[in-house]
Amino acid sequence: MGKVKKSPWLLHYDGSSCNGCDIEVLATLTPVYDAERFGVVNTGDPLQADILMITGGINQQNAPVVKQLYDQMPRPKVVVAVGTCACSGGVFRECYNMLGGADSTIPIDIYVPGCAARPESIMDGIMKAVELFQKRSDEHDRYEKEHKGEAGPVDPNINTARDKVRMKEMKGAADV
């Protein structure tokens, strides 16, 4: 078990937004707010990322992209939705091509509100995500220890018990 929370690498994906949140995310990473002092690295590579940060809502076109980015990230991983659009679809919610917020496609762990989200609240979201990242890593290690030699979980996208519950909930919501 290692202290993984000191090194959260970030993957930023912009769905269909007005780019306001993207600019705030970049502001978070540049000198004034300097997220790197917490070890945050803005990587463009899903294979190396720990935290997926989504801005903007999900539409028909970008849903498979978001799904694939999420799938390509190795466990343990955390997803943060930044801004009103990513949380719920925002003002675009009722558009014909929109599926809704980011949680319409993948399980979201942290919701950062705001239109556009303030750098301070994005930073707060990252810090919450970092705590969850450590917790997941510990859970993952414990699981591996207890189930040594057994076959892995059937669905590789399901991280933890909490994810399983959430997936079930999402399925239920879709049925309604």
Partner: protein
């Protein structure tokens, strides 16, 4: 006999200590970069935290051969460094170093990802750029000392930089390319402004990326060690001078990294060969005339 033990100690110290020293240098580099950009920057031990994190991540690989190839890359890198720090044949050391670069190329090309493959070809170009300077350095070393053995510097009365200033300039230039510092970081970049996602490391995650980082730390200590042979001589004071020169070079490299934008590979190739040809070539001619 006593000397042999000293050389073995040098190699062992390198194998055990280089990861820690390299990691620390990496951390200081990030901190220094941050301060130059007016940021607070990550903790100095950040590369170590990253390393531990990478070992704890789920292993996802496109091609299983990558792990084996990266392992070979690491082992050869340790080998070339250990050969150097035990004062062995400089020419042989640099040949092993070239082989090491080829393994990185293979590690990047096996997953057949478009980004990684493109970066792999760029990595080969980087190798073509720094290779002449590094190989000519051993020729210059031979002409100045009469042997290829790196340990010969300790028997010299004057520092080699007096005879080989051009070679030092060409080597430092090659080192910028080899360490992938900003104007020449065409194959991969430490910062998030690489157009090829993460270059050669695009398809490396978790354990594999950790191996790559470890090899990078070994490489860093080795390359800065080579700078020291220009300064070291029979007097013990020269050790202090070598450390000071290394620190100055380190600072200059961070400064260059922060003040330069990436060049095209054509420019890198032209520039590196011009610098090598001019500095090493002229130095070589003068050396052959006076010796």
């Amino acid at each position: 006999m006593n000397h042999t033990i000293l050389y073995v100690i040098g190699a062992v110290l390198y194998i055990v200590g280089a990861p820690f020293l390299g990691c620390l240098m990496d951390g200081v580099e990030r901190k220094l970069s941050a301060r130059m950009q007016g940021r607070i920057g990550p903790p100095v031990l950040q590369p170590w935290y990253d390393f531990i994190k990478l070992l704890n991540k789920q292993v996802v690989t496109v091609d299983r051969a990558q792990f084996f190839i990266l392992m070979s890359y690491l082992v050869l890198m340790v080998m070339s460094g250990a050969m150097f720090f035990s004062g062995n044949d400089l020419l042989m050391t640099f040949f092993v170093l070239s082989t090491t670069g080829t393994f990185l190329y293979f590690a990047a090309i096996v997953p057949s990802s478009p980004y990684s493959s493109m970066a792999a070809s760029r990595e080969l170009i980087q190798e073509v750029c720094y290779e002449p300077a590094v190989l000519l350095l051993s020729v210059g070393f031979y002409l100045a000392t009469g042997t290829f053995n790196a340990r010969a510097v300790f028997t010299q009365n004057t520092s080699l930089v007096m005879f080989l200033p051009g070679f030092l300039a060409a080597y430092l230039f090659a080192m910028i390319i080899k360490l992938r510092i900003s104007p020449f970081d065409v194959s991969t970049s430490h910062h998030a402004h690489q157009e090829l996602v993460q270059g050669v490391t695009t398809e490396m995650g978790a354990r594999n990326l950790a191996l790559f980082k470890l090899a990078e730390w070994y490489e860093m200590v080795f390359l800065y060690g080579v700078v020291a042979i220009f300064i070291l001589n029979s007097s013990p004071v020269s050790i202090l001078a070598a450390v000071l020169v290394d620190l100055a070079v380190f600072f200059c490299f961070v400064l260059i990294d922060n003040t330069n934008a990436r060049v095209k590979w054509e420019n890198m190739l032209g520039l590196s060969w011009a610098v090598t040809g001019l500095c090493s070539g002229v130095n070589l001619l003068i050396l052959m005339m006076i010796r």
